[in-house]
């Protein structure tokens, strides 16, 4: 039996190449805010100052036009590469920064678009260039500027924004920090006014945004975890996040399973996978049903995996371990079974093999 944690030579090679690539590029650190005025810029500048005090070469590549005595004090301690002004738009001077090659570049306000004709359309692409040149970047962004969250945030804030950064860019961050607002723990409130405050619309909106920011950070952190698992040869850690795997079989009530999986996944803010382990003897009807179910799975936003394997149970379990699945959903048809003559069905074997994974049974 192959050792699940031992890498093949190809995997090893890829890992070494990935590590070399990693060593060449700069590190990306993101301060994520969910409301303005929470102090992202302060945190970024303060980290820049501390790094300078430790002897690192830090420059400020871009800063937004806000001012406060605290910020001014920090700004005086870090050399600034002035922004270019192109068509009345502030543009980061990537060329000068590349020539200067600092160890760390601070970039305030990641979500800026550059005017047409600039070397990059978006500031986050400027940052990509700095990283590729081996310059580490510390940057700030507000939740509403994350492309994939824009609609959700807009519905909470009731405000539209016109620039954005793809979430995939944030996923590559080496470090992400949610800049949390100092919450208002006022002790003067009475029970009544506290109840009133709970209904306070602004507080509710802020909570929703705060939750989104925490979950986004958790997703970024989960990506980092993926990076460790092979490198440290560690057994994957289950349970940092709920991940549900729905097993399709030709007769299973796929719709019910996928719907339930979606609901549970949403409550846990987890991830949804749907797997089908191929059978060669599918009838035309079976094939059509499978196609329908796969399309249901894709509509539900599941990551769909088609696999082949002699042993369906082994294939499912192996995939589940790789993906750190916490719950497996599978159909059963136990209505026809005769008490006392329970044979080792697929379901029975799956339950026995799924050590550490919940198995949820759905009748056909």
């Amino acid at each position: 039996m192959p050792q699940p944690n031992r890498l093949t030579p190809d995997e090893l090679l890829r890992q070494v190449q990935a590590e070399e690539e990693y060593a060449r590029t700069g590190r990306l650190k993101v301060f994520l805010g969910y409301a303005s005025g929470v102090g992202k810029t302060f945190r970024m500048l303060d980290e820049g100052r501390r790094r300078r005090e430790r002897g690192q070469d830090v420059v400020l590549g871009a800063v937004q036009p806000h001012s406060s005595p605290d910020l001014d004090d920090l700004l005086n301690k870090i050399p600034v590469i002035p922004l270019l002004e192109i068509e009345h738009t502030p543009v980061m001077d990537v060329e000068t920064i590349l020539r200067r090659t600092p160890l760390v570049c601070l970039v305030d306000g990641l979500a800026y678009d550059n005017p047409p004709g600039s070397r990059n359309l978006h500031r986050w692409q400027d940052v990509e260039q700095l990283l590729a040149a081996g310059i580490s970047v510390i940057t700030t962004i507000n939740l509403q500027f994350v492309e994939e969250l824009r609609e959700q945030v807009e519905s909470i804030r009731d405000k539209r924004v016109h620039v954005s950064v793809p979430v995939a860019f944030l996923h590559r961050a080496d470090e992400i920090v949610v800049v949390d607002t100092p919450t208002d723990f006022s002790v003067a409130r009475t029970a009544d006014s506290y109840a009133a405050a709970e209904q306070d619309e602004a507080a509710r909106k802020l909570s929703q945004l705060r939750e989104l920011a925490l979950l986004l950070a958790a997703d970024v952190v989960d990506e980092q975890l993926e990076g460790f698992l092979p490198a440290e040869g560690a057994t994957p850690a289950w349970g940092t996040q709920e991940k549900i795997l729905v097993c399709l079989t030709p007769r299973a009530n796929a719709q019910r399973m996928i719907e339930r999986a979606r609901v549970i996944c949403d409550r846990f803010h987890g991830e949804l996978f749907v797997i089908y382990v191929g059978q060669s003897d599918l009838t035309a009807d079976g094939q059509a049903a499978l196609e329908r179910n796969l399309s249901l799975a894709r509509q539900a936003g599941a990551e769909v995996k088609l696999m082949t394997g002699q042993d369906a149970v082994a294939t499912i379990i192996e995939f589940a371990r790789q993906q750190r699945i916490t719950q497996i959903f599978i159909g059963h048809s136990l209505n026809k079974s005769i008490w006392g003559r329970f044979t080792r069905t697929t379901v029975d074997r799956l339950i026995r093999a799924a050590e550490g994974i919940d198995v949820k049974l759905f009748p056909h």
């Binding site: 029970a191 939750e211 136990l334 799924a354």
Partner: protein, 358 residues
């Protein structure tokens, strides 16, 4: 005076994921801020092994003296909850929420002391790490190989008015560790071999972020409750993990969680004393986590379990995984099958204890 105060104090939890992320520091900063605003703040308990920066923040804050407890001839000091109540400040600062008191203390757990203080209308600021949350115990064991003994039931944290995460990236935390800010001497090397591996810290941090997000979400106006979860309890130790898991899923689904024991005869007289002890332990554990427990009599476990579930509007049944050896409990193997067959209108979930590591 125990019931003279109709308004309960509010609880604020500073949640972290490891020693050294700055929970106590942030809590004391808030205490100082409150004091500057003329709030009457006292420190009820402060962890004496704290870092110098943190100790400096204690200056100028009033402390309620600890209370000496004699246990087996030795002298221990515990927080004096009655002393705090007698002092009656507006806010009490209580470090190390999951702490277990020395036997002979008025209450077994510090979180029980805190509830007592809150009941007297005093607000409390407290600190804990996410790995001490009861429902995460098995997952944390799986991630770290450490079985955390001092836990806080989830419903206690749910009662907090606010949960804030004290966040520091694992890399920054490891830097602090290397600089000797968190521990000194051998403890640094030891810590790095165990808990303070970067991958472990990253995993715990993810759990803390998600938990804080859940705490934020669950304080929002509730969405409709959906169905009920039933956990089937026996005298087997696997019931513990099953209870944690069933309750956690129920909490996330905003469902009620029930626990059921089915015994073939009244007064569970068929059980050997040892089994009975385990069964009581499991039932008590369920009650501590605020599951509604029921005991019914019936010879056919599956039939009675499913009938009970149907009567009580249960939509999900949680069962332990059958034992690997068919000899241990011959009928358990068939229990899953029979329940699944009878409960075709419900979801049946089989939970395997998460004990794969070590």
């Amino acid at each position: 005076m125990s019931n003279s105060s109709p308004i309960k104090g509010r609880l604020k939890v500073f949640l972290g994921y490891a020693a050294g992320v700055g929970k106590t520091y942030q809590m004391l900063e808030e205490a100082r801020e409150l004091k500057r605003g003329n709030t009457d703040v006292v420190v009820g308990y402060f962890e004496p092994h704290a870092r110098p920066d943190t100790i400096a923040l204690m200056e100028g804050l009033e402390s309620v003296p600890l209370r000496a407890v004699e246990y087996r001839g030795a002298r221990f000091e515990e927080m004096d909850a009655d002393g705090i109540v007698a002092r009656n400040p507006q806010v009490a600062v209580v470090d190390e929420f999951p702490h277990t008191n020395v036997p002979g203390s008025p209450r077994a757990k510090r979180w029980e002391d805190v509830i007592y203080i809150l009941d007297h209308g005093i607000h409390v600021l407290t600190t804990m790490n996410v790995q001490h949350l009861e429902s995460l115990n098995d997952q944390v064991f799986n991630m770290t190989g450490v079985r955390v003994r001092e836990t806080v039931p989830d419903w206690v944290v749910q009662q907090a008015a606010e949960v804030v995460m004290v966040d520091l990236t694992p890399r920054a935390l490891l830097n602090r560790l290397d600089r000797g800010v968190v521990y000194q001497g051998d403890k640094i090397t030891k810590a790095k071999q165990n808990f303070f591996k970067e991958s472990t810290l990253v995993a715990l941090r993810e759990v803390a972020l998600r938990e804080t997000a859940f705490e934020v979400e669950s304080r929002q106006p509730a969405t409709n409750a959906a169905g009920r979860v039933l956990v089937y309890i026996t005298d087997d130790p696997s019931s513990i993990a099953l209870i944690r898991r069933g309750k956690r899923v129920a909490d996330y689904m905003k469902s009620e969680c029930l626990a059921l024991v089915v015994s073939p005869a009244a007064n569970v007289s068929h059980l050997a004393p040892e089994q009975l002890k385990h069964l009581q332990k499991n039932l008590n554990f369920a009650r501590q986590l605020h599951l509604q427990t029921h005991e019914i009599i019936g010879s056919d476990v599956a039939e009675h379990l499913v009938a009970f579930a149907r009567q009580h509007g249960v939509t999900q049944i949680y069962l332990s995984r059958p034992k690997p050896s068919p000899l241990s409990m011959p009928f358990t193997k068939d229990l899953v099958e029979k329940v699944a067959r009878l409960a075709r209108d419900m979801e049946v979930t089989i939970v395997a204890e998460r004990v794969t590591k070590k």
